[in-house]
């Protein structure tokens, strides 16, 4: 397991905070998920109307992690800061691009991406840490580059996150995917991945 030193911004103060990105979801990470993240999610679901329920509220990361562990094509990531789990991702490298001009080219598909409840504006204002999402996107791009995908990635966005992928990551929206519950499908090309890595979008 590799650990990368990364940085987040504290939501309340804007201060930089060092964090760690692990290229694995370990039992310790899953224990943090079940003892902190999951109970907070359950409390939120119990206190709010079903229509306000986060789309990932029932995701069980133990099962997702087990189902992907040991598969050569799957890549799991855990983001940890100050001993707390901040975000999780599972990606798969056996996918191919759908964009015209890229069709059939190798691509890393982000199967599951989620941030901890305290990093979501609907749970906490201000959020505890900013920057978790783009760190996971960067990790997926680097996996893609290492696997011959040249930075190409694709994902099915949860409805509330579509702006993030289009506006904050510079990905291309291909439209609703009827085969995946009509979720919006986004792709990032090699050129877009290079732009993302140059980090020159406007805040």
């Amino acid at each position: 397991m590799n650990e990368s030193i990364v940085w987040l911004r504290e939501g309340a103060t804007g201060n930089p905070v060092q964090a760690s990105l692990f290229d694995e979801i370990t039992d310790d990470h899953l224990l943090l998920w079940s003892t902190t993240w999951s109970p907070e999610m359950r409390r939120y679901v119990a206190a709010n109307a079903p229509t306000d329920r986060p789309e990932d509220s029932h995701w069980n990361w133990r099962i997702k992690s087990f189902s992907s562990s040991g598969l050569l094509s799957c890549h799991s990531f855990s983001l940890v800061c100050n001993g707390e789990l901040q975000a999780l991702m599972i990606a798969r490298d056996l996918a191919s691009a759908k964009l015209p001009g890229q069709f059939g080219q190798p691509l890393v598909h982000l199967e599951f991406v989620a941030t901890a409840p305290w990093n979501r504006p609907e749970f906490h204002q201000p959020v505890r840490y900013k920057g978790c999402g783009r760190i996971l996107i960067l990790a997926a791009i680097e996996v893609s580059r290492a696997c011959g995908g040249k930075g190409r990635i694709g994902l099915h966005s949860l409805p509330a996150a579509e702006d993030f992928y289009e506006q904050k990551c510079g990905m291309t929206l291909l439209g609703a995917d009827a085969a995946h519950q009509n979720l919006s499908y986004f792709e990032m090309t090699e050129t877009q991945a290079d732009q993302f890595r140059r980090n020159q979008m406007k805040p």
């Binding site: 989620a114 941030t115 949860l158 980090n199």
Partner: protein, 159 residues
């Protein structure tokens, strides 16, 4: 895979991200693939038997096991006696910690995840058959239990 970017990259990236909502994946996707009812049923029976034999081998009653695992005694009774009941993933995880076996293996035995190898599936069925319920834990049961614990410890490589 290791990210090697300067601190400034991440801080600017956090500013770009702001308080955007993040999330991707099929909301109702369930990694549990359909199982044949036969294997599924054998798996649940095996899980219940395993919990019961492990408990009796320690000389514990269901209440003691529930205390050790941080579960309700009703959950233990349901796991041991009702093959139709689907145990909660967290309950299985807690039991795996008490038993000292790989949670991954116990998820398979509990029928929460389809085994990736036919070898493990065969072991589950064989265990269910060998550990048919009897009143006391005799030598054969103890041997079955020990063999199964040994198989569970190797599950990471087999599954």
């Amino acid at each position: 895979m290791k990210l090697e970017y300067p601190k400034e990259w991440f801080l600017r990236s956090a500013d770009i991200e702001g308080e955007a909502e993040i999330g991707a994946g099929i909301p109702s996707w369930n990694p549990k693939t359909p199982t044949t009812s036969e294997t599924h049923s054998a798996s649940r029976i095996a899980f219940g038997r395993f919990v019961e034999l492990w408990r009796r081998n320690k000389g514990w009653n269901p209440e003691r096991l529930a205390d050790e695992a941080g579960l309700d005694p009703e959950e233990i009774l349901e796991i041991e006696n009702d093959p139709q009941a689907e145990p909660e993933p967290d309950a299985v995880f807690k039991l795996a910690k008490v038993f000292g076996v790989a949670p991954k293996g116990l998820y398979v035995i509990a029928g929460l995840v389809e085994p990736r190898s036919s070898i493990l599936r065969d072991k589950v069925v064989r265990f269910a058959a060998r550990s048919e319920n009897v009143s006391s834990l005799d030598e054969a049961e103890r041997e079955a239990l020990e063999a199964f614990v040994s198989a569970l410890s190797k599950i990471s490589t087999e599954s």
